[in-house]
Symmetry: C2
Subunit: 388 residues, 2 copies
């Protein structure tokens, strides 16, 4: 069992969730909270807020700010004059419910037992992450967001938010997201969960769990970046003579993966990883908020969204969230009458491009966000919410 | 430690290797042998033999024959009137040295200890596999092969054979092979070896090793087949209601991988897997037969080959041995003056296409093999062998 405490950046604000907080699949959390950071200022009309949904492994610390000057994971994109321009927008970044950087998750203490939830954390869905983050927005007294922005898992969360809270955001940006995972992405994440879950359940101790997390991260990195990047960066560069018998140290590419794996395993709560990974596989926009076995009907759900504008960004080299999925989101929203821009970028970083290609993403995001009309968009006709 | 005996098809012929058999990296095997099957008849001139080098996981049982009527792994391709036409050719299939289907490998008993070699099996190289297989050819009294044919690991072995034994084969067919592994392929196999090697060395017992082999196989299958195949075949098809908590059983794609993994783990010796996998990463045609750190010089080695004809086949959807690598082999051979055909096929089976796409491969192989002039090709000028 893992019993590591949530590793929260202490300067993130903790926002209490309504208690008990009912989860979509039936579970309930008592005394739960989410960690939040904000950048820029909420204007008097309270209509300039952008809500940011993160990828699986990120904390709420997306950018530096006076009380935490360390670089955030999207430092290049958030700030005065940057893509998410804090002179214009008030950016809200929330650590996903179920994660381990200050938000309640499997590593948190279950108040009913006094022990970390671990395996007993109730089944988490993407919709729950959207709802917990919206609670933070509610706490700030914001009626309508200028937009929601999410990447990877966060792209799914942005879509879930739009369906769960129609009219609460005027626009949506999805970067390398999905309406539902591909078979290949499911296979990859299932394998990662098998590795981590087996170690956690085996009782083999923290070293085995740490090794499992390292392996899962290596599989993750290899699914994020394109083979072209590995080839250009490492090729067959060797780190020591052939004579060594061990695996894992002959080639520089092995050392690089090892470094990333060690860093990740040190930071991330294993059961959080498991829960968030599974939530991604289970997400299906076509039956958002619905745990029944009803057939998935994405166009039907898309019709309920009340978005004025959407921007869908895909990366050609992304194999985990391939561009065909990005095109599918764009087509779905366009068909539902939402004015949607679709942009395909190219980067050897593949799924990770949003972290490494500020130069590519900045003009695309800037143009879209600058063009957003503030409070009076042409909304789709109002329809009732699906899972609010 | 794994102590499972080699699982040889009993009807394969065992060919003793010269004893001791010196390995390229310095080790020696005493009393080693390779398992061999043959199909068709050697003609009186002894010049109609094709030597087949297999992929990592295959046995010598490539096709059915009177003493073993079960289907072989290339059943659709070997036989009267088939691509490898046994009315015309005498096909020799050898289980790779280091494997576990009758050839000496890590699962075999080390005569110096009376125990299976396991981790103490001397470092294996692709060149050693080529040399052990050539010993089987020698045992049959064949001076010159009509051709060598290999796929995946076997494609590397065919290139190694051509360099180690110039003039001993008139032609070469490489299917989804490589001059040297890409960084991405190295990363994938290194991860598989880390999983299997950790379990083997942990002393955690056969169940942990079996689970490690299952995981490694899943990673393998996911690197062989294209995501398009998984999507078409499985999509998000579910095998049971969402409510289940375990990973690995929600989606049909997970069950399919599980089935393949279980089958493989039951058959394959873990240390054999480790040794063959590593041999693939270490192979470098540009310094074939050379364990020094000399710079790799593929064109220099290509000039020493004495092949009249070559056929290089790649599969567009193969990510593990991408078509860029196939083109590189073809360019290398063409530049060295060898008449080389290059064919790119397309199949959602990706790296596994040679196993599943008999309809695509048959005409390509038939045309090439039928056109081979029997005993009097125009050879490159003779040069001394590099590692014979």
């Amino acid at each position: 069992m893992s019993a590591s405490p949530p590793m929260a950046p202490d300067r993130a604000i903790r926002v209490p969730l309504p208690s008990p907080f009912a989860l979509m699949a039936g579970g309930r959390l008592v005394g739960a909270e989410v960690a939040m950071e904000t950048y820029g200022r909420l204007n008097p009309a309270r209509d300039n807020a952008l809500l940011l949904f993160t990828g699986l492994s990120a904390s709420a610390h997306a950018a530096s700010h006076p009380s935490d000057p360390s670089n955030g994971w999207w430092e290049a994109m958030i700030g005065p004059g940057k893509a998410l321009d804090t002179e214009q927008f008030f950016v809200i970044s929330v650590n996903s419910l179920g994660s381990c950087f200050g938000s309640t998750g499997p590593g948190s203490i279950d108040p009913t037992t006094g022990q970390p939830y671990g395996d007993r954390f109730p089944e988490l869905r993407i919709e729950d992450i959207a709802r917990a983050s919206q609670a933070a927005v509610d706490a700030l007294g914001i009626e309508q967001l200028a937009g929601v922005i999410g990447m990877s898992l966060g792209g799914m969360t942005a879509l879930a938010h739009a369906a769960c809270f129609p009219g609460r955001a005027r626009s949506l940006v999805s970067i390398s997201g999905a309406v539902a995972a591909t078979a290949s992405a499911i296979a990859t994440r299932s394998l990662q969960r098998e590795i981590v879950g087996t170690a956690l359940r085996s009782g083999a101790g923290p070293e085995a769990v740490n090794q499992a997390m390292r392996l899962a991260r290596k599989i993750g990195v290899m699914s994020y970046v394109g083979s072209e990047l590995l080839e250009k960066r490492f090729g067959r560069e060797q780190s020591e003579p052939y004579a060594g018998r061990g695996s894992g140290t002959d080639f520089e590419v092995e050392n690089w993966l090892d470094h990333l794996a060690t860093k990740f395993a040190r930071q991330f709560e294993p059961w959080s990883y498991w829960a968030l990974s599974r939530a991604m596989d289970l997400f299906d926009f076509g039956r958002v908020g619905d745990t029944s076995q009803d057939p998935s009907n994405p166009p039907q759900v898309a019709k309920t969204l009340q978005l004025a504008r959407a921007l869908i960004i895909g990366v050609k080299e992304d194999l985990l969230f391939p561009v065909a999925q990005q095109q599918a989101i764009a087509t779905l929203l366009t068909t539902a009458g939402i004015t949607t821009d679709y942009i395909e970028l190219s980067s050897p970083s593949g799924h990770d491009a949003f972290l490494t290609e500020a130069g590519l993403f900045t003009p695309v995001l800037s143009q879209f966000l600058n063009s957003l009309a503030h409070p009076t968009p042409t909304l789709n006709e109002a329809r009732s919410a699906i899972c609010a």
